[in-house]
Structures are given as structure tokens and as C-alpha cells.
Amino acid sequence: MITKPPAASGNPALSLHSISMSLGGNRVLDRINVDLAEGEVLGLLGPSGCGKTTLLRLISGLLLPDEGEIRIAGSTVAAPQTGIALPPERRGLGMVFQDYALWPHMSVAKNVAFPLEMQGVRAGTCKDRVVRALDRVGLGAMAERRPSDLSGGQQQRVAIARAIVAEPPLVLFDEPLSNLDRELRETMVDEIADLVAELRLSAVYVTHDHGEALTLANHVAVMREGGIEQLASPDELVNHPKTAAVADFLRLGCLLQATRGADGWTINGTDLSFPAETIAGSQAQVLLPEKALRLDASGPMTLRTQVVRSQARSTGHALILRLAGTDHVIRLLSPRRARTGDGVDLSFAPEDLRWFPVGEPVH
């Protein structure tokens, strides 16, 4: 247990040690380890069913883990081995829910005041802090409205104000933007990013949208089937995905199959060849990152493709290209329109490719 206030403690805002959890006989989380420094944001990214929401509920105390230890700002809040299991109300957290979870029978101000009221903050102070929190999310004028009178985006802002009003050592975001439409989602991501930076919040942000995770988080944990596939900074994830699954989930580009022959590696169905020492094994997957591709034939290596479809977009033309000789599809944004059936040459540098061995998963 810590005695110093969390702001000066130097303790990690969150530390998960070997967390495991089974629900109905299925292992939904398997030995998760994460440390998050104060003032940083951890993104939990993954497809539905990967365990990210379960992990967040374990941190909040709405669920209890089977094994492992959870520490928030230095104090242990859950450790089944030693019988520690703090209920959610004693963890001092803020949380933003996917469905907002605003209480329909309370005004906006009452909703936001609730966490302070539970801490026994004096009415006068409480009012000031509620006003400040609502101003911060731009809803100062809506204090006396009912949540049901607000739009989806406004409701989510109220939920954010409620989560930060008590200045908790850790704020949890549970897919907060997935119920909003695309345009609003993009504005809200920026707003949350500003808020997090201004308040120096420590936060865990769960999402299945890699754009949100890469924008908001200092560290992103890509989760798959109850485990963390890769935990890294957004740049590292994009430039050096650890596995084909990570590359696929982040939609970094086209994943191709390669086979090792007598004189080195060949990408199946093409005449592209690479030196034998590129990677060990006899089969491999190769990531052709979208950002490494150029729409010309200048080399150093080139690919022959055929246009399958060209779709008009606000930012140009989205080309869907088929790699000649294969079924692989490459998506690329082009300033020019292209006709179905046209041939298009693409250039890339061999060092931009990422190679993943096939067969044994990398951990």
C-alpha cells in the first residue's frame, strides 16, 4: 500500500502481472503482463472476443481475475493468491462506457457530480469542480439538461466529464466512440487526445479501431485470443509488426506467401526473388506495406498489377489491384482514375518488406 499521493509516487499508473481468467471453461485471458507509466495511455486493440473488454473489466473491478496481480498507482487492488479483491468503488477510477451509461433519472450536472458526492466532497467545492469538468468538455451550458435531451456525442462528453471530475489516478475507456458515426468519431478522437495531454491522464483505452488506438495511445497492446500479440509504441507497431496477425489486423498492406527454393526465396505466383538468408524456414509470409509502394516503375523492385476496381473517394481514387499471377489484392490511393483491366506498375524497396516465418507463432 502506498502512502504518498499517486501524483508524486513515481509508481506505474497500472501494472498487470500474469493475469489469467476463465469464463465458462474458456480461457479468455492468458498470463497478461503490462506496465503503464504515469501520464501515459495504454491502447488495448483487438478484434471482438480477443479479451480486451474482459481485461478492462478486471482492472475496473467489475470482474475478478483467477490468477495474477493488478496494481493501480502502486496499490494492489486484486490478487487472488493473497485474497485481495477490492470492489470497483474502492479503486478510485474513472470509466467511460461504450453505451455512455449515463443515469437517465439525473441531470447532466448530477451525473457528473456523482463521483465527488461518493467521495464526500463538500457541496460548494463539488459544484465548482462539476462546472470545470463540464466546461472542459464544452458542455457548461447543458448542466441542467437531462442526458436523454443530448445528442450521442454530447452524451459521451458528459460521460467523459464524469470520468475525469474526481481526477482519478487512472481512467478507463471502454470503446467510447464505437456508438458514434464516423465524422463525430474523428472529432472526438482529437478532443480526447487534447484532454489526455492537458490533464496528463493515465488511461487505458479499449478499441477495435486501430486508428483510434494509434492516435491516442503511447503504447498499444494488440490482443488476440486472450493474449498480447505485441505491445509497442504506435510507430514501432506500424514499422515493425511482430507477426503477420498484427500486420493483418492493422491493415498495414498486402500479405503474400513466399517459398524457399534452391537459389533463395520466391513470392508465390510471381518472379520476385530474394536472397536465401532473408529468413529461416521453408515457407514465409511477406508483408508488402501499403506505405512502401509507389505508383511507377522506377524500382528498385517492381510489381505488375491489374486494376480490379477504381472507386472515387474524397481524397482521390481508391484502386483495388490484383497482383499479376496471384489472387492477392492490393489497395492503394491514387490521384488519378484508372480503368478496370488496366495494367499498373508498382515500385518498392526490398528492405521495406517484413518477413514472418510460417508454422511457429512468434512470441
Binding site: 467489475l62 453505451d99 451509461a101 463521483p115
Partner: protein, 567 residues
């Protein structure tokens, strides 16, 4: 999260859990337990466990029992048939065709819900008996039909068929719009699509509502007691009442008969529950969509007349008979202008009258029951929804048990439990015993309303409260309770309406000299002061339905949509 209830995590309040458990044990389990003990150990009352099962088997082997159980079954099945014959045709007509004044017929057919069956039965007696209103108007009476087993079935069918009518017309309409129209697109005519699609799909709903009618009719006391006794037609309910209220008092006999009756009600209830929760053949629910109904053509007038006749028999006739009797100076004076007067009402509502005291008692008890039953119901439903494992199963079972406990059985259980001579303190012989009985009988209503309402609440509303720092109890009081309050108010009004005029348990356990509305009406009718009794019946129907209806519309008006779920 579908498995949220199974996974360990933020638990509900232990305090609420124990409140629900202890409340249910005292109110539901204790009376049930004492009935079973009494049925097994006939001398339990004098503190002896001697001769177990001696009376049990004796009563079970008693030819009386076969007679009573047979009559009960006969009455239940007969009432179901009458209700089906009355309800199915008009429900189908209402759902598939344009009926003139349809909304008025619907409103009129709601009224049988508001008239307690025993009051309606008394209205029918006043009308059909020798020298009753029918004879005064037309010159002949139908006493031979009235005081017959068929007559009892018909009158109980008239009291209960609107349950079936409303379930069925709504189901027919929904199915018609959703599936039957599809059948017509693929070439089935309207009749064929009704027989091939609508009716089969509506079967589970029809069966479930008919089972409800069956349960209602085998648990009913007033009608068989008022009509059946004159022709020696006894059913289990009246048999139990006899054994416990008339000399020589036969406690083991009444306990054993209670067990038989409960078993029958339980089977009906389980069957109904099974029908309604079956996955493979889901009951079609939801709001009926607007879809085009056909014109009846030349059949418009006959169909309208049919609706008018059914509505008159179910609603108009009993109410007119009650009003006529209440407004008659003397019964022998009959239907004559000179005989009209408000004498009965003046006598009933005069200062310090017995009637006024009975009204006051019932309103007081009704209100208290509504408040306590709803609170206990809400806590119980919450604890079941939040509960886990064996605990949850026990609590759930205890909370639905009263569904299959007829009022007479609850009364027997309460007498057996709380009238034991060795009890140092007992609520017996105080108005509190009525409170215990009413809460036990009516508990399923608030539990059902609260459960439905809790299932509609998003899980995260409470979770958000917990994460914001509210403990389990505080989260319940500040978040869950206010959100389910609108449905709880509806449940309270329902409980109030039924509790304030409950008959058989009140007759059996009311303390000496303590009268309620129902007891007052029953006694006046027994003593030949039908006018005074009917005046009270009229006031009771008015007060127990008008006040609640007014409250509901006031609440709706005040909340004006800001509170969800008030409908």
C-alpha cells in the same frame, strides 16, 4: 455480457440479499412449511409428532377428496372451455377485420379485470334468481341455469375470458402483420392463411392464457361459494375453507387438501411457464403493426351485435345489477322508480358506520401491502438477477412459489404457522396477519414487474455507479431503484387494487371484529342486506379502480415521457 451473472466480480449488496431471503422465508416459506408439517403430523398443534402420515393417507383415501378434486378439475376445464368459446371468435374478428367501435369494445372488455369475481357473481345472482331482475323485466327466471355447475362455469368464464381475448387478439394481429401476410403473398387465401399460419403460431399463447384461466378458476373462492353451496357443489377451495372455519375444525384435512390444490395449481403454472419460455416455438410478441384489415361487408352488423352482447354480459349486466340493488330502498320493492334511493349509500357511508370502518381498513391495508410487497419484490428481483449459484435458485424458487398458492391455502398456512400456542409473540389476531397474507399472495406481481424492468436496464448503469465510488447498497438505492420506480408504481397500483378487496384470506384470518371491504360485502349478502353489500361493492369497484387509474394518468402527465417505461 451474457455470462456476467456467473462470473465473479462486483457483487450485489449482501444486506439486500439477506433482506430478500429472510423476508421470503417468513412470508412464503413458513406458511408452506407448516402446511406440510400439519399434513404429516396430525397432532402437531398440541406439540406432538405422533402418528405421522396417519391422517394424510386417510384424507387422501377419503372419497370426499376425490369428489372435491374431481369437481375442481371439472370446474377448471369447464371454465377454460367457456372462456375459449367466448374469447377466440371475437379475438379473431377483432384482429383480422374492421369492427365498428373496436376501441370501445376493448375498453368495455377491460372492466371485468376491475370487478372482483365474487362481486360479479353476486350481481348475476341478483339478476337470474327467482324474482330477480330478469324475471321482473321479462317474466321468466334462469335460476335453474344459475344454480348449476354449467352456470358456475359460464359465470366464471365471463369473468376470465378477457385475459384470453387481449392476449389472443394482440397475438393474432402481430402474426397477421408479420407472417400471415407473407403467406398471402405466396398464394394462400385469407382463411387458409389464418388456419395454416396464424392459428398454429398463436397456439402457445392461447394455451398459456387458457392455463392462466384454469389456475384462476381452481383458486377462486367467491363464485363457487356463492353459487355452488346451494346445490351442494363443493370444490377444493370451498372444502378447505369449510374444514378450517366450521366445527369440527379439521386442520390436518385442510392441510392435505391444500397440498392437493397447490399441486394442481403448480402443474398449471409450470406448464404455462414452460409454454412461455420454450425456445423452439417462441410466443410472438411485440407491437402489432398497422396492417390493412378487411371489411366485414354484410357481416358488419351481426359482428357488432356479437361484440355488444359479449360486452354487455361481461360488463354491463353485473354492474347494472350491482347498481340497481345498491339503489333499491328494499329488495322486495324490485325495479320501480318509487323504490329508488340513496338510502344504502347513506347508511354505508354514515359517520361511524361499519362500512366506513371496513373501507378505511381495506384502504390502509391495501396501501401498506402495495408499499411493502413492492419493496420486497424489488429487492428480491434484484437479488435474483445479481445472485449466483444455489443461492439464486433458492431465492428464485421462493419468489415464484406464491404463483401457485391460492389465497385459501395461504390463509391455512398462516393460521397453522402463527396460531401455534407455543409462540411467545404472534401477529395472529392483529391486522398484521392480513398484511402477511396479502403480501404472500401478491408478491409475484411486483417481482415480475421488477424483473422485467431490471432486464431492460443496461448492465453498465449500475457498473458506472460502482466505478464512480458507490458501494453495492448505495448503487441500488441511488441508481437501480429510481430507474425501476415507474414499473414499481404500476405494480403497486395493481397490488393495491387486488389487496384492498381480497376475499377468502380475509374471511379466514381477519382478527375478530376487524372487517375489510370484501368481508363486509360477504357478510351483508349472507345476512340478507344485499342492498348495503352492493352499495359497498359499487364503492369498492369505484375506489379501487378509479383511484389507481387516476394516479397512473397523473403520473404519466407529470413525467411526460421523462421517465421511461411508464405505460
Amino acid at each position: 455480457m451474457a455470462r456476467g451473472a456467473v462470473a465473479p466480480g462486483a457483487e450485489g449488496s449482501a444486506g439486500l440479499k439477506w433482506t430478500a431471503t429472510i423476508g421470503l422465508l417468513v412470508i412464503v416459506a413458513v406458511p408452506c412449511l407448516f402446511i406440510v408439517i400439519q399434513a404429516i403430523f396430525p397432532d402437531f398443534g398440541s406439540g406432538s409428532l405422533a402418528a405421522p402420515f396417519s391422517m394424510f393417507f386417510k384424507t387422501l383415501a377419503d372419497p370426499d377428496l376425490f369428489g372435491l378434486a374431481g369437481n375442481t378439475l371439472l370446474l377448471g376445464v369447464g371454465t377454460v372451455l367457456c372462456a375459449a368459446v367466448l374469447a377466440v371468435p371475437i379475438a379473431a374478428l377483432r384482429a383480422l377485420f374492421r369492427i365498428p367501435f373496436a376501441l370501445i369494445w376493448d375498453a368495455l372488455l377491460l372492466i371485468p379485470f376491475m370487478i372482483p369475481p365474487y362481486i360479479a357473481a353476486l350481481g348475476w345472482i341478483m339478476t337470474l334468481q327467482p324474482r330477480g331482475y330478469l324475471e321482473q323485466i321479462t317474466g321468466f327466471n334462469m335460476a335453474s341455469l344459475l344454480f348449476s355447475v354449467t352456470g358456475i362455469m359460464l359465470i366464471m368464464g365471463l369473468n376470465t375470458f378477457s385475459v384470453v381475448y387481449f392476449v389472443l387478439s394482440r397475438t393474432f394481429e402481430t402474426i397477421g402483420a408479420r407472417y400471415s401476410d407473407v403467406g398471402r403473398v405466396f398464394g394462400a387465401g385469407q382463411w387458409r392463411s389464418f388456419w395454416r399460419i396464424t392459428l398454429p403460431l398463436a397456439m402457445p399463447g392461447l394455451a398459456a392464457s387458457l392455463l392462466l384461466v384454469f389456475a384462476m378458476s381452481i383458486e377462486e373462492y367467491g363464485t363457487p361459494a356463492a353459487l355452488g353451496r346451494r346445490i351442494g357443489f363443493e370444490v377444493l377451495v370451498t372444502g378447505i375453507e369449510n374444514r378450517i372455519s366450521e366445527w369440527p375444525i379439521d386442520l390436518p384435512g385442510s392441510a392435505t387438501l391444500s397440498l392437493v390444490l397447490v399441486s394442481m395449481a403448480l402443474i398449471a403454472f409450470m406448464l404455462q411457464r414452460w409454454l412461455l419460455t420454450r425456445r423452439d416455438y417462441r410466443i410472438v410478441g411485440g407491437k402489432p403493426q398497422a396492417h390493412d384489415k378487411r371489411n366485414l361487408g354484410v357481416w358488419t352488423v351481426p359482428a357488432t351485435l356479437l361484440f355488444a352482447l359479449v360486452a354487455f354480459l361481461a360488463t354491463g349486466l353485473p354492474i347494472l345489477a350491482i347498481l340497481a340493488t345498491a339503489l333499491s330502498r328494499t329488495i322486495s320493492g324490485g325495479l320501480a322508480l318509487s323504490n329508488l334511493g340513496l338510502d344504502n349509500f347513506r347508511q354505508l357511508l354514515g359517520t361511524g358506520s361499519d362500512g366506513l370502518a371496513a373501507l378505511g381498513n381495506s384502504l390502509m391495508l391495501g396501501t401498506t401491502t402495495a408499499l411493502l410487497a413492492s419493496l420486497l419484490g424489488a429487492i428480491t428481483a434484484y437479488s435474483v438477477v445479481k445472485g449466483r449459484g444455489r443461492f439464486r435458485i433458492v431465492l428464485d424458487a421462493l419468489s415464484i412459489t406464491p404463483n401457485s398458492l391460492p389465497g385459501v391455502v395461504v390463509a391455512v398456512g398462516i393460521i397453522l404457522a402463527w396460531n401455534q400456542p407455543w409462540l411467545p409473540v404472534t401477529p395472529y389476531n392483529t391486522p398484521f396477519i392480513l398484511l402477511l397474507a396479502y403480501i404472500c399472495i401478491l408478491l409475484p406481481q411486483p417481482v415480475r414487474y421488477a424483473t422485467a424492468s431490471l432486464h431492460q436496464l443496461g448492465d453498465n448503469l449500475e457498473a458506472a455507479g460502482r466505478v464512480s465510488g458507490a458501494g453495492p447498497l448505495k448503487a441500488f438505492v441511488r441508481i437501480v431503484l429510481p430507474l425501476i420506480l415507474p414499473s414499481m408504481v404500476t405494480a403497486m397500483i395493481l397490488v393495491f387494487a387486488v389487496a384492498s378487496r381480497e376475499l377468502v384470506a380475509s374471511l379466514l384470518v381477519a382478527p375478530v371484529g376487524f372487517t375489510t371491504i370484501a368481508v363486509f360485502i360477504w357478510q351483508q349478502f349472507d345476512q340478507g342486506s344485499a342492498g348495503l353489500g352492493m352499495a359497498m361493492a359499487f364503492c369498492a369497484v369505484l375506489i379501487t379502480t378509479l383511484i389507481p387509474l387516476l394516479l397512473i394518468s397523473l403520473l404519466r402527465w407529470f413525467s411526460r415521457g421523462s421517465v421511461a417505461g411508464l405505460n
